[in-house]
Symmetry: C2
Subunit: 176 residues, 2 copies
Amino acid sequence: MVVEEKTISSDRVYTGRVISLKVDTVEIPQQGYGKREIVEHGGAVGVVALTDDNKVVLVKQFRKPIEKIIWEIPAGKLEIGENPKDCATRELKEETGYSAENMKLIHKFYTSAGFSNQKIYIYLATGLTPGERKLENGENLDSYVIDFNEAYDMILKNEIEDAKTSIGLLLTKDLI
Amino acid sequence: MVVEEKTISSDRVYTGRVISLKVDTVEIPQQGYGKREIVEHGGAVGVVALTDDNKVVLVKQFRKPIEKIIWEIPAGKLEIGENPKDCATRELKEETGYSAENMKLIHKFYTSAGFSNQKIYIYLATGLTPGERKLENGENLDSYVIDFNEAYDMILKNEIEDAKTSIGLLLTKDLI
């Protein structure tokens, strides 16, 4: 029988721009107390942008935490008070220049519930119109249009190694 | 043209049991400097354990960071120096009691490369033999055996909302 862990005390360790960190002391049923290190994140969206001829828009971005340039779907953090659908529209435009006639929520998930509350909303964008990119300061990425089946193969070959990208593309395969 | 971000300085904020946190000051090409908040994690594995009659073993676990009980594949953190395959075998046994004749790596991915270096290795376990569970202290979870197609439907209905679980099951669908 799985039960919730009650918070006994909470220690704020760090308040940051992208994440914050706290350590909770919790009561573990029949076992005493334990510590839970919790990384708080405001949430993010990822967009599977599909052209009329079944190509998908991917980006390549340098990610400092892993010291690598990796393939991803266009994505970004929710601004304070921002609706996920608006965030998807904004990030798609900023990172790739594309606007979409249709923006549909296809999945929501936690990236790593063991230590973080980060939630990602995946949108499927169709009815695309190309346009000019508007990268934010500090954003360092390139945008590509790739045949969907080729992108899918990249997952199977593990050339794609990013959670939201794999989830978004794997779910989209069922829809096209 | 995507380029790497060079570290100018690094500030260790917290060293923990599951995660550690640092904030790097980086040089952003043509833009000056920026801060990167980086959550370090030792890595983890997840196991898609498939019975001979195409059922899959799932667990339900309370996850403090999200204050929810969620469905997951059996999983756990790598111990220091532990090989991912050994971790998969160990966690499957501890959490579900099952041993597996075959343990095959099917995918590796980063859960949230925007702020963390956490990498998860997904294994497919087949040739299963049931046995007794050996939960670690502080582990609070129940184990279930569910028809694979039913588990797959749970993803589509978003009753599963966990990255490694969705990726593991979505990739396994292609294999069975």
